[in-house]
């Protein structure tokens, strides 16, 4: 994310795989079985995706008659077109397209706000500690474990009283509330290993609370920010419960639309369209993982794993 800003801390923890010396202490003849095991697990992980992709390119009769893993005989992209822009989502035959934008409008602000709050919290909890700070961190952390089904009704009532029930800011607010625990956890653990001397030195130089945060902490937070953003984005993008409960007709997110596409109680099931739609709905998170995947491990390394 911040390739240029190599700070002290990052240089210290940057031990990427390529830069390391050999750790292979296995005899060479086992390497075949090693690749075999890794390959078998690749099959396990890829199988559901394969099923989805293959069947999304088949015409419907071929799916109902043929095997699950067979390649399409008649390749067609009509299911994809249908899922994106023609399929019936309720009364409107809009496909998933408009809901995609709703999801982006929801996820981007929610992730940004939650990440920033988490960073500030982590900064305060590690560099400006006060008696009881650890207790407060523990209290915040417990929020990770709240089952969301349990808080729907009181949340709805609070949103109503705040006057943001059924609005986009309302959903964003809910996601921020239940994302703070995780983002605080990530940043706090990351900042815990950040040299406090640097902060003290800056303080003596007259730098203020926020100056230190903007100039010293944030620029070196790249690795953990990646982890936090990936985590939050995945959770928020994939959320169905909050989306279904707290959105209005004009703010329903992608998952709700996908669910409407896939779950029909008394209609004909177009599996090829369902699969195409499912992949489309998952595309943003997939891309995030593929693009940022290697930073993810690096970020984990530099922060949360050290506990």
């Amino acid at each position: 994310m911040d390739g240029k800003q190599k700070t002290l801390i990052e240089a210290n923890t940057d031990i990427s795989a390529s830069g390391r010396k050999t750790r292979s202490i296995m005899p060479t003849f086992t390497r075949f079985s090693l690749y075999l095991i890794l390959g078998l697990f690749c099959v396990y992980y890829l199988l559901p995706l394969y099923v989805m992709v293959v069947n999304s390119f088949k015409p419907l009769p071929e799916i109902t008659s043929g095997g699950m893993v067979a390649l399409p005989i008649d390749w067609t992209i009509s299911a994809w077109q249908s899922a994106w822009s023609e399929a019936q989502i309720g009364v409107e035959a809009t496909g998933l397209k408009p809901y995609f934008i709703n999801s982006l409008l929801m996820a981007i602000p929610a992730v940004t706000i939650t990440t920033l709050l988490g960073a500030v919290n982590g900064y305060v909890l590690t560099k400006w500690t006060f008696p009881g700070a650890t207790l407060i961190f523990g209290l915040i952390l417990f929020g990770c474990f709240i089952p969301f089904q349990a808080i729907l009704i009181p949340m709805a009532s609070v949103l109503g009283r705040m006057g943001i029930a059924g609005t986009l800011p309302g959903i964003i607010f809910v996601h921020v509330v239940y994302g703070i625990s995780f983002s605080t956890l990530y940043f706090r653990n990351y900042y815990a290993s950040f040299p406090t001397e640097l902060v003290r030195a800056a303080q003596i130089d007259g730098a203020s609370f926020f100056t230190i945060f903007w100039r010293i902490m944030l620029p070196s937070s790249g690795p953990i920010a990646v982890v936090c953003i990936i985590w939050l984005f995945t959770n928020i993008w994939n959320d169905f419960l909050f989306g279904a409960s707290f959105s209005d007709f004009d703010s329903q997110p992608m998952t709700v639309a996908l669910n409407n596409l896939v779950q029909t109680s008394t209609g004909v099931k177009e599996y090829n369209v369902h699969f195409a739609g499912a992949i489309l709905a998952a595309l943003p998170t997939l891309i995030v993982y593929i693009v940022a995947g290697r930073y993810f491990v690096r970020g984990l390394m530099s922060g949360s794993v050290k506990g």
């Binding site: 750790r23 890829l46 998170t285 997939l286 995947g293 491990v297 390394m301």
Partner: protein, 297 residues
């Protein structure tokens, strides 16, 4: 900063600023986590049906809850599921991390292949999983079609085995993430240690068991928190795969709570089950948090 008094105010502000900055988050957590827990606890003592009401009924909901066969099944299922899920995820995650750490070609590709399921929700992958596990069209049918006539894999249709299919899908989703966590931990281990061990002539197994794995404790901890919270919240997974069936054989506390609160119009009982869930979580997580946080002081 000429005025002494002025400096005092600034100082005091500077001194208080961190707490001021932290307070919105704390307020949010106090209201939306602890306030709601209190609210739910209160509801669990009321006769709430379709919507919340405040008619006090004492312990009635808890009595009904403990007499419910489905709740019994749910709790047993959660126990089986969490032990297997957390255990297998940690085992597979650790194994794959160690294997991947052997200077593997295409490591980047493999890593993302293992990690990507975490990006998908079960709304997306549920149908595919249902197909794979279904004996009529899934794995069993495919392997039999390839000539392996005696192959049988019909767990999802069997009351006693269906819960294990949920473990399979859950492990699929998260084990890659655990792998990444462990891999990060492994990469953080000092190379000097390795060389010393090699000079000592330690076997591979002994090397990992005695030197590497003990150092992964923090990684285990992070993995545990993530896995435990996934296990307790597991809802989408069950709904997508079995809908709680066959019968109620794969019902879990999260699905139980949801169905009583929202579809069965017995919100009081739903709240009671939520309280039981929260208490279980607290019993496991609080000691862990306490030991972790205290140590660091």
């Amino acid at each position: 900063m000429k005025n002494r008094n002025h400096i005092g105010v600034l100082d005091r502000l500077q001194f208080q600023l961190p707490k001021i900055v932290l307070s919105p988050s704390v307020a949010i957590i106090v209201i939306f986590v602890y306030g709601f827990i209190l609210y739910t606890s209160y509801l669990s003592f009321t006769g709430s049906k379709m919507l919340p009401n405040f008619n006090w009924v004492g312990l009635q909901n808890y009595i009904t809850l403990f007499r419910s066969r489905t709740w019994d099944t749910s709790v047993t299922n959660l126990a089986i599921f969490s032990v297997l899920y957390i255990g297998i995820c940690c085992f597979i995650g650790l194994m794959l991390a160690i294997l991947l750490d052997q200077k593997i070609r295409n490591e980047g590709f493999i890593r993302i292949t293992y990690l990507y399921p975490m990006a998908l929700s079960f709304i997306v992958t549920g149908v595919a999983w249902k197909w794979i596990l279904d004996p009529g069209i899934g794995l069993e049918a495919v392997l039999q079609g390839w000539g392996w006539e005696s192959f049988s894999f019909r767990w999802i249709k069997e009351r006693d085995m269906a819960i294990y299919t949920i473990v399979i899908a859950a492990v699929w989703q998260t084990s890659g993430f655990v792998m990444a966590t462990f891999l990060a931990g492994l990469r953080g281990i000092d190379n000097e240690m390795l060389r010393a061990a090699q000079l000592d002539g330690a076997s591979t197994f002994a090397y990992y068991r005695r030197i590497v794995i003990p150092q992964l404790r923090p990684a285990f901890m992070s993995a545990f928190v993530v896995l435990a919270h996934m296990a307790i919240k597991s809802y989408d997974l069950v709904i997508a795969l079995t809908g709680g069936g066959p019968g109620n054989a794969t019902s879990m506390p999260a699905t139980f709570m949801y169905s009583y609160t929202f579809t069965r119009n017995q919100m009081g009982i739903g709240a009671a089950s939520a309280v039981m869930m929260l208490m279980t979580v607290a019993a496991i997580i609080v000691p862990y948090l306490w030991s972790e946080l205290r140590e660091k002081k």
